[in-house]
Symmetry: C2
Subunit: 390 residues, 2 copies
């Protein structure tokens, strides 16, 4: 096990009607907030109305900025930063899923500083201060409600980059599973896949002696798969939505990757695919991840055997250990497919290969010369994985 | 799943030589601390010397109070409170295992207030303020390094009671597995059993739809059992010590019991056994827990079948489901026995039954009329469990 620091102070308010507490939870942090949200569903559902009422009751003033799109954009973040600077905003309140939360984190990082917020994502500088962020989660999966990371797209340069800072972990997050009952089957499936991918980035490691976190990872994966089957049959079952919501939070809150060096290569490849084609993050992941697994498994076959046996109950075949691995990968693809998710780039309507070289080049460059820790991937490796994913 | 609030802000510094950071981690909290420890092992090993040096280097002044015994005593807590009051202490630094940490928490609760600290444990009043607590852990198991609870013995009244307060979670805890390599086999075994018992108190619940946390609980239990076998063979293996240390923290930090109503009946029975006979907490638990399981399993047999199947790989027997349960309980006893732990009250040198009635009465009374949530236990139930445990 590696040395590590674990510190996740995000307070989670979990359960029915939990958003009613938003106003009074904000009081210790700020008198004026930026209410940040997406493209209308939170307004239509009445959620934003309830949140405004809660803020009013607590005497918290608010400015609003909606319009966050999947793969959130730098331009809107600049708008948010301007509003914060002009109005002495003390906290950014995100109401939405991962895209809204990431956009809010970027605004919170930029607002108290004079440099360009994109410099943080391109690792040119670091924020001196950040505003606190709080969350009312409507689509689980990203785990951004309790993580220190954000991903942002610069639409001018067509770059999609991530940025992490411990002070960006939300001070509190409201997780009310009721709010997720109306999430469409496709977005629900993507949320489950995103959470699974986070666990798998931690799981595929070369760090030895990580049995406790291995077992916890496997448990969360098994539960998410079970939830995947159940939520298709019973989309309005509160209990299944609650399990998905808690599992997605645990998947990336620091518990499962404690003392492990995770990989994150698939995520970096996916970011480049999304930047080039504007596909949804999780859909890109389900296309890339099985190809990545197939490309790298020989590096530590036993770990992939463990995955196949413990997550998908594949029987170990001593006569053909590779087949055990491949059955595990196939089971994962079958699950994604059953959930209606793409398992190839073609299914994402990427129909010719001419962008693949550029995607591979960008991934290598943005990774500072390579990506991944379990296996270090250079341009040619990434190109080969994209070929397998095609 | 039940509604819940999860908030565990304890910062964990995990790994080799992690205690070197103690001084500078304290600086934001206090200029003067109470250095609180046990009966000499931390002095002999040189750990206290290193901590004093770290405090000196950071410019943190310290007063000292050693002598904490297993089942920590109220009288020493009063001494600590006096030192804090007289010297304007700003933080209590515990160097030791669960007993030292619990004693430190009691001091931290009492120091800033004028009422008797025992009133908090007997639920007569609540502290208005508490001092921050920090920890350098030397014996894992209690999980007190990240929990909000403490257990204290009033030697005058022969009462052993618990007290919980969210503000008593340590602000930071140093977890260096190197410090635990010299823990004796018996104390190591007790630590593992204590952590397992914490997981099991969460596991045996009537809350439906808790699959994610069920799976995580089972994973942590399986890992602790594996570590139990390994640490007997390789007591100085850092990696095994690291796994035990992280598992014990996770076992009671709020992750595994999120949204569940735990039981804690066995713990309350054990507290009374310890109060009457001064046995070590975990040794009392391993004697009581299997008897509790046997007494209550019919209440929700399927949960005990799940435990047997998933934790001990017992095959489900459709012709005799009870046998599946009983094999699971027997496997747990076999594991405890292999670790050199008592599985009956007799093995704790409790040789006559005349105290059992009083223990049962006290447990019922201190529980406010009953104990346990999975099954509510009255005096006669507790007496019957003690009989099974004899």
């Amino acid at each position: 096990m590696e040395n590590f620091v674990y510190h996740n102070p995000t307070k989670v308010l979990f359960g029915k009607d939990a958003e009613d507490a938003v106003g009074r939870e904000i009081v210790p942090y700020a008198e004026r907030v930026l209410l940040h949200y997406g493209q209308g569903s939170a307004e239509k559902s009445g959620l934003l109305g309830r949140i405004r009422r809660s803020l009013d009751e607590a005497g918290v003033a608010y400015y609003e900025l909606g319009g966050v799109m999947p793969n959130p954009r730098l331009s809107l973040v600049h708008e948010g930063i301007d509003i914060c600077k002009k109005n002495g905003i003390g906290l950014v309140l995100a109401v939405g899923g991962g895209s809204v939360i990431d956009s809010a984190k970027a605004i919170a990082a930029g607002a108290p500083n004079s440099d360009n917020v994109w410099d943080y994502f391109s690792k040119q500088s670091k924020p001196k201060a950040v505003l606190p962020v709080a969350v009312v989660l409507t689509i689980p999966g990203s785990g951004s409600e309790s993580s220190q990371a954000a991903v942002l797209t610069n639409e001018e340069t067509q770059e999609k980059l991530d940025f992490g800072n411990d002070r960006l972990r939300p001070v509190f997050s409201v997780l009310n599973p009721q709010l997720t009952v109306t999430v469409s089957p496709y977005y629900t499936a993507m949320g489950i896949a995103d959470a699974m991918a986070h666990v798998m980035e931690a799981y595929f490691t070369d760090t030895p002696h990580v049995d406790v976190t291995d077992r916890m990872c496997e448990g969360v994966l098994k539960s998410l798969i079970k939830c995947g089957y159940m939520v298709r049959e019973q989309p309005d079952n509160y209990e299944v939505r609650a399990e998905i919501m808690w599992a997605s939070k645990v998947a990336i809150d620091g518990t499962l990757d404690a003392g492990r060096v995770g990989d994150w290569g698939s995520h970096y490849i996916e970011h480049e695919v999304s930047a080039a084609y504007d596909v949804a993050h999780a859909a890109g992941l389900t296309a890339v991840l099985p190809a990545w697994m197939r490309y790298v498994y020989q590096h530590n076959r036993d770990r992939f055997i463990k995955f196949a046996m413990r997550v998908f109950n594949i029987e170990y075949d001593p006569d053909d250990p590779d087949m055990t691995v491949l059955k595990g990968i196939q089971s994962l693809k079958d699950f994604f497919r059953l959930m209606g998710l793409p398992v190839s780039l073609r299914e994402l309507d990427i129909t010719d290969k001419k962008e693949l070289d550029k995607i591979a080049e960008n991934a290598e460059r943005h990774g500072g010369g390579s990506i991944g820790h379990f296996v270090e991937l250079k341009k040619d490796d990434i190109r080969a994985i994209l070929e397998l994913a095609f």
